[in-house]
Structure formats: structure tokens, C-alpha cells
């Protein structure tokens, strides 16, 4: 049994007392105006003091969070390194930077085109947000659904800012992406007759969330990784890309690599490059905890930006409504949206349900912040405060055994600290979860820099300004495969000219000319959690 504080216990009692009444209560959805109002007042993206204007680079004049600005305009690590571009350590057709779901999907497809393909990843293959995606993957494959309905759901959820040609590709290729995974041997949840078990996610109008229990991303990642190894694709792990390399015509032509352990510097030459480096949660924007994996430090955005690629919506982040607020050991860890899909309500300190649990993520997160900061209805925790996510409702609504069968990872995560989510609710608060924006690409996957492709969370525009649950696992597959196919094909006609890093020096001159004095080394590569006083 977990040791709650007196205040937490009193509040917990109220949640239990009101459960019987709440269980049949369907909360009204917010109107468009109510949504806009709660977002403007409480969503972290609207806090102006957290942002600054970029002084140099392709997005000069645009605003990004301070933490990202200091890296985008930081000092390139490569300037301090002794790099010999005449000594090529790896010579490949397609170089993929990043070993998550997008990178692995891209590698499999690039390999199929016959291209000599290599993945470089700063941790292990599969150490990525993909493996942590619990809830599921969207695809409109049921009778009452269609890619057009999926399109409208994602467009509205994204505040109508999604790049239309990217969104069209996402929803149109979705069913095939599921089939591709199924054929690789991913075990989706199915009825005995083969019908996919699908649920709602926040902001969906049809039940199109496919899942593999609550290990959806983990299951997908381990299968993709296995396939990469079966194909004999070269994987260079514990090696980061610290800078892109261009050729004399300004096209992407490789990367400077660094062994994370020995610090050895290596040069990779490539005909095409794919950035699949994922998100930025470990930059802890605005001091938020994060649900992201250890390597999520926006490296790909930094590298692409210095090379001249434009970013789209880099100012929009996703704060997942339900990060664990208690116990302290798992502060910020993801509590999958599926918990709400299965029927758990969000309840305040007094036992009152205050928001429909299936609003979009930005709206739900804002409503939780409002409930705590403005209404004073949060419950104090070691690290801050939170509201209750009433998990026992799941089994009242769905029957005994539902939790163990559908969300075993959640049962295990809290069980380790003596909290049985079948019997007790849990405390949650928004956690930094996803980078909605990223590098601007065309539908073929290429960025503004010739021969530089991008896939996965590093891309901006697919999801507009707010991504729906289940569209990220989808996007890494659809756009990962797309980038791999196109980069593989493109490589056949590319003749790489002389390699150069001159653009890095030029960028540094611009930096100085703009009066930027920050000596922060960029990219970040890993966060530093060592005790500060050391």
C-alpha cells in the first residue's frame, strides 16, 4: 500500500464516495469557444515570456522556446573538433540518423530499393519514444470510418494548421501501414474473427485506435528492430551525428559522427541523408517533466537548421494531459491516454469530474492546469500537484480483468509502488510529451536542403499545432517508409561532390555578427542529471 499524505487520503475518499454517481455521467464536450478560451489562458504554448525571437538562420524573426533557441543558435560542437573530411570512415548510399521507429522503417524500405543503408544512433537501436508509445496507432479501416473522416479529425485537432499534402498522405497510407506491420508480425489486439479491436483517442470521431495492449510502440519497435537485423542493415550504435556534411553544391552529403563513449570522430559520406532523430522532451521546456526517452534532445532540428532547413511550428509542443504526478520516482512518466479511452474520468480534489476525458490533448492538459492553478482544486504532491485519474471506473464499466488485459504496463508501473490501479485512482499532471513542429518537408519527405530527408517526430506540419493520440506511431511508419523509399531511389542518381563544413563556419560568423555570445555546445546529445553541487 502506498503511503499517501493526510490531504491526499482525504481527497481519495471523496473520489471513492462520488464514483458511483459519476460512473454513468457523460461530461459535455466543450464548444469551440470554450476550447479556445481555456487554451489561451492555460496552455503552456501561450506563455509569451517562455519564448524568444531567433536572430539568425532560416527561421530568423520567428519565436521558439528559450531552451531551443539557445541550441539552434548555439556553438557547433564540430568547431572544436579535428575533422578530416578526406578520411572517409563510412561510405554509403543512404545514411539514417536516429534509430527509433521512423529510422528503422526508413532503413527497411531504403534497403528494399537496393541502396547501401546505414543507421547511426547515439544510444541503442530502438532507444526511442516509439518504444514508449503505449496507447496505439490510428488508421481508418472500419466500415463506419474513412480516410476523409480521419483527415478532418486530425485537421481540427491540429487547429487547421496541418500541411494538407502531408496530412493527406498520413491518413491515406494509414491502413497500408497497419497491414505492413501486421505482415512483419506485429501482434495487434484482435477479436477471434480477426476484427481489429479499436477504441477512441482524444479528438477522434471514430474508434480507430489500434493497439498491442499498452505496449503498442514497444511491440512495433522490437519487430522493426528485428527486421533491420534480419536484413543485415549496418547499425552503428552509441554514435551520434554532431554535424551534417554538405558537398560543394550545397547538398546534404553525410555527417560527422562521434562515438559517445570513446569520443572518436568518424566521417560518414552518403548520397542521401535521413534525419529521424525524434523529439525534444529532454530539453524540459518551461521546466516541465517529460515522458520522453533519454536521448530526446532535438539534435536533428539543430543539425538541419544549421544546414539551412526551415522549421515549421517549432513553437508548438504537446503537453500530455496525464503524466504521473505521484509517486515521485515516476514523476512525469506517461500514463497512456488509453486509460481514458477505456473509461477513466479526470476528477478534482473534491471528487468532481471537471472535463470530458476525451477532449484533444491540448485542451485536456489546459483544463487540468486550470483546475489546479486557477480553481485551486489540485492535490498537492512531492513534486507539485495533480488531479485524480479514476482508474477503478474502467473495471466498473468494462468488467473485471479489463485493466490487466488492456493496460498491463500501467498496472505494473504503479504496482511497483504499492498502488493497485484496479482499486485506487492515480494522481496525474501534464508532462512534456511531443514536439508538434519540426523540420519542414514536402510530401516526398525532403527538407529545404537538397538530399536531406526527414521522418518521424523531427518533421513539422503533419499534425499542425497539436497531434492526436495514435497519429505519431502512424506518422513514423508512413513517413519513415516514405523517406526510406524516396531517399533510396534518389541515391541512385546522386554524384557526391567534394565534402565541406564551410556552412558551419559561416553560421558561426552570423552568430557572432548577431551578437550571440552563448557558448552552449550544440547539439546537446544527452541531458545532464548529475547532482548540481558536484
Amino acid at each position: 500500500m502506498y503511503e499517501y499524505t493526510k490531504e491526499q487520503l482525504e481527497s481519495l475518499k471523496k473520489v471513492e464516495e462520488t464514483r458511483g454517481k459519476r460512473v454513468n455521467q457523460e461530461l459535455k464536450r466543450m464548444t469551440a469557444e470554450e476550447k479556445e478560451s481555456v487554451l489561451a489562458s492555460f496552455h503552456p504554448d501561450y506563455i509569451e515570456s517562455a519564448y524568444e525571437e531567433l536572430k539568425i538562420g532560416p527561421n530568423k524573426g520567428g519565436k521558439v522556446l528559450h531552451e531551443l533557441a539557445s541550441l539552434l543558435q548555439g556553438k557547433a560542437r564540430v568547431l572544436d573538433l579535428d575533422v578530416n573530411l578526406d578520411k572517409i570512415d563510412y561510405d554509403v548510399d543512404v545514411l539514417i540518423i536516429g534509430g527509433g521507429g521512423a529510422g528503422a522503417s526508413a532503413a527497411i524500405e531504403a534497403d528494399k530499393t537496393g541502396a547501401k543503408t546505414m543507421i547511426v544512433t547515439k544510444l541503442r537501436l530502438g532507444d526511442a519514444n516509439t518504444a514508449m508509445a503505449e496507447g496505439g496507432i490510428q488508421a481508418a479501416d472500419k466500415e463506419n470510418d474513412s480516410p476523409a473522416i480521419h483527415y478532418l479529425d486530425a485537421l481540427g485537432g491540429g487547429h487547421f494548421a496541418n500541411k494538407p499534402e502531408l496530412l493527406r498522405k498520413l491518413v491515406t497510407d494509414a491502413p497500408e501501414a497497419i497491414e505492413w506491420l501486421n505482415e512483419l508480425g506485429v501482434m495487434f489486439d484482435k477479436e477471434p474473427d480477426g476484427t481489429m479491436i479499436t477504441t477512441h483517442g482524444g479528438g477522434t470521431s471514430r474508434k480507430r485506435m489500434h493497439a498491442c495492449k499498452d505496449y503498442s510502440g514497444s511491440e512495433i519497435m522490437r519487430v522493426l528492430r528485428d527486421e533491420v537485423y534480419n536484413r543485415g542493415i549496418t547499425v552503428v550504435d552509441f554514435t551520434s551525428a554532431v554535424e551534417l556534411i554538405k558537398d560543394s553544391e550545397g547538398k546534404a552529403a553525410g555527417a560527422v559522427l562521434m562515438n559517445m563513449e570513446t569520443k572518436e570522430i568518424l566521417v560518414a559520406r552518403a548520397k542521401t541523408v535521413i534525419i529521424a532523430t525524434g523529439g525534444a522532451g529532454r530539453l524540459h521546456y518551461q521546466g516541465f517533466p517529460t515522458s520522453n526517452h533519454y536521448g530526446a534532445t532535438a539534435d536533428g532540428l539543430i543539425l538541419a537548421y544549421r544546414a539551412g532547413a526551415k522549421l515549421l511550428y517549432p513553437e508548438t509542443l504537446q503537453y500530455h494531459p496525464t503524466g504521473a504526478a505521484c509517486p515521485t520516482q515516476i514523476y512525469g512518466a506517461l500514463v497512456t491516454e488509453k486509460v481514458r479511452s477505456l473509461g477513466a474520468q479526470l476528477v478534482n480534489k473534491d471528487g468532481v469530474a471537471f472535463v470530458n476525458p476525451l477532449e484533444t490533448r491540448d485542451v485536456t492538459a489546459s483544463a487540468i492546469i486550470r483546475e489546479c492553478k486557477k480553481n485551486g482544486k489540485g492535490v498537492a504532491t512531492t513534486d507539485g500537484e495533480g488531479v485524480w485519474l479514476d482508474t477503478p471506473m474502467i473495471e466498473i464499466r468494462g468488467g473485471e480483468g479489463t485493466i490487466e488485459k488492456r493496460i498491463p504496463a500501467m498496472l505494473r508501473m504503479f504496482g511497483k509502488y504499492g498502488i493497485d490501479i484496479r482499486k485506487e485512482p492515480i494522481l496525474v499532471y501534464p508532462t512534456l510529451h511531443y514536439q508538434n513542429g519540426g523540420i519542414d518537408i514536402s510530401a516526398n519527405g525532403m527538407s529545404g536542403v537538397e538530399n536531406l530527408f526527414v521522418a518521424g517526430e523531427a518533421v513539422g506540419g503533419i499534425h499542425g499545432k497539436n497531434r492526436l493520440m495514435g497519429n505519431s506511431l502512424l506518422d513514423i511508419i508512413v513517413f519513415g517508409r516514405n523517406a526510406g523509399q524516396n531517399a533510396g531511389k534518389k541515391a541512385k542518381s546522386v554524384k557526391v561532390k567534394a565534402l565541406t563544413l564551410d556552412f558551419v563556419k559561416k553560421f558561426d560568423e552570423e552568430r557572432r555578427a548577431a551578437g550571440i555570445v552563448s557558448e552552449e555546445l550544440s547539439p546537446r546529445l544527452l541531458p545532464d542529471y548529475r547532482r548540481k553541487e558536484l
Binding site: 464548444t31 469551440a32 544510444l123 541503442r124 532507444d127 518504444a131 514508449m132 488508421a139 479501416d141 466500415e143 474513412s146 480516410p147 476523409a148 473522416i149 483527415y151 478532418l152 485537421l155 481540427g156 487547421f160 494538407p164 493527406r168 491515406t172 491502413p175 501486421n182 512483419l184 508480425g185 501482434m187 495487434f188 484482435k190 480477426g194 476484427t195 470521431s205 495492449k213 505496449y215 510502440g217 514497444s218 511491440e219 522490437r222 519487430v223 528485428d226 527486421e227 537485423y229 534480419n230 543485415g232 552509441f238 563513449e261 515522458s291 526517452h293 533519454y294 515521485t328 520516482q329 506517461l334 498491463p408 504496463a409 505494473r412 508501473m413 511497483k416 542529471y529 548529475r530 547532482r531
Partner: protein, 224 residues
Amino acid sequence: MEKTVNVYLFGKRYQVPESLTIMKAMEYAGYQLIRGCGCRNGFCGACATIYRIHGQQELKTCLACQTKVEEGMYVATLPFFPLVKQVYDIEKIKPTEQIMMQLYPEIYSCIGCNACTKSCTQELNVMQYIAYAQRGEYEKCAEESFDCVMCGVCSSRCPAGISHPQVALLARRLTGKYIAPESKHLLKRVAEIENGDYEGLIEALMQKPLSELKELYNNRDIEK
């Protein structure tokens, strides 16, 4: 001041707050982690760890990101373990009993010591899923092993040299691809899309002005 405990990281003593996980205790002590740290949330298996509490006989295993420190804890991490992964073509193999015999014959050398199950950081019944694999019952093996994070601790304890996580992964892929029932609605939809059935609908949406899209979105009907 929070209560502290003494932990011994690779044998060296550090005094750390008692609320920390082993992973955070290492960072508190001053380690900048590179290996042995991945998702920090119990899904990736990067932080397999072996420990023994001073004065106790039993050797315990865990994920460092999911386990609180204890007084007198002697910690050794296992950031890598040489699992054997056999290469195969998923299109060519079939879910027959022979395939395990061909790829992972060492599973038939299991001596039934149950050390794998006792050491599993996810509390899975590892020996049982290996038994299912031996008998060609891949669906059962897949189900029993589903929560595996492939940390490799089971294999480090196995006297028969079995790479349990790889055996289970093969069983799951066979199950997902060949044994699980086909999703007819999915195949139907893929064929419709290939046929261009939805192009017009999406194209029409893309042409609509913003005001109309908002109207459609705000009034769309939501499946119960």
C-alpha cells in the same frame, strides 16, 4: 533533510536520498550515463541491474529506472548482454515446430531450473514460455512473453545458454503474421484506397475554405 541510505555502486559506497531510483541514485552520485539508460520508464530494457542487499544471500535483478534504492544495496548494472539473435526471412519461415529446432535448438537443453523466471524484471513466467516454444505452441508463447522488454537478465542466469527474449520475439512474429486471424476489413480498406476510392473525398476537403472546414469539424458526429 530527506533520509538517506548507503548504496554501493560497483562496490563503492555513496550516500543518497532514499526516495531515488537506482538510476537516479547513480546520477546523484555523479555518473553521466551513456549506456544502461534508455527510456527511463520501464519499456526499453536498457538498465538491467543485479543487486544484493548486504547480509542477504539472494541475488536480485531489476530495471534500475523502476526500482528504489535500499540500505546496503550492492549494485552492478548489466548494460549489455550477448544474446544470440538468429537471422531469418519472415516471408519464408512458417510456424512449424521445426523452425525453433532449426533456429534456437538450445531451448531443448533447458534443465528446468527456473532461474530465468526467478530473475525476470517483468515478473514473466519465462520458463513456461520457453516450454511453449519447445512444443511449437507459439501463440501461447507469444501471449506469455508479451510484456518482455528484452533486458536479457534471464539469459544471463541460464545454464543452458538460451536467449529467451529472442526466442519469444520469433514466436510473437510468427503469431502476428501467420497464426492470428486475418483482418478482412483492413485488407478491404487497403484495396479500396489502392483503387483510389477516397481520393475524391479528401481532395474535396482540401479545397474547402477554412470556415467550412471548421463548421464540418465542430458539427461532426462522434461515434459512441
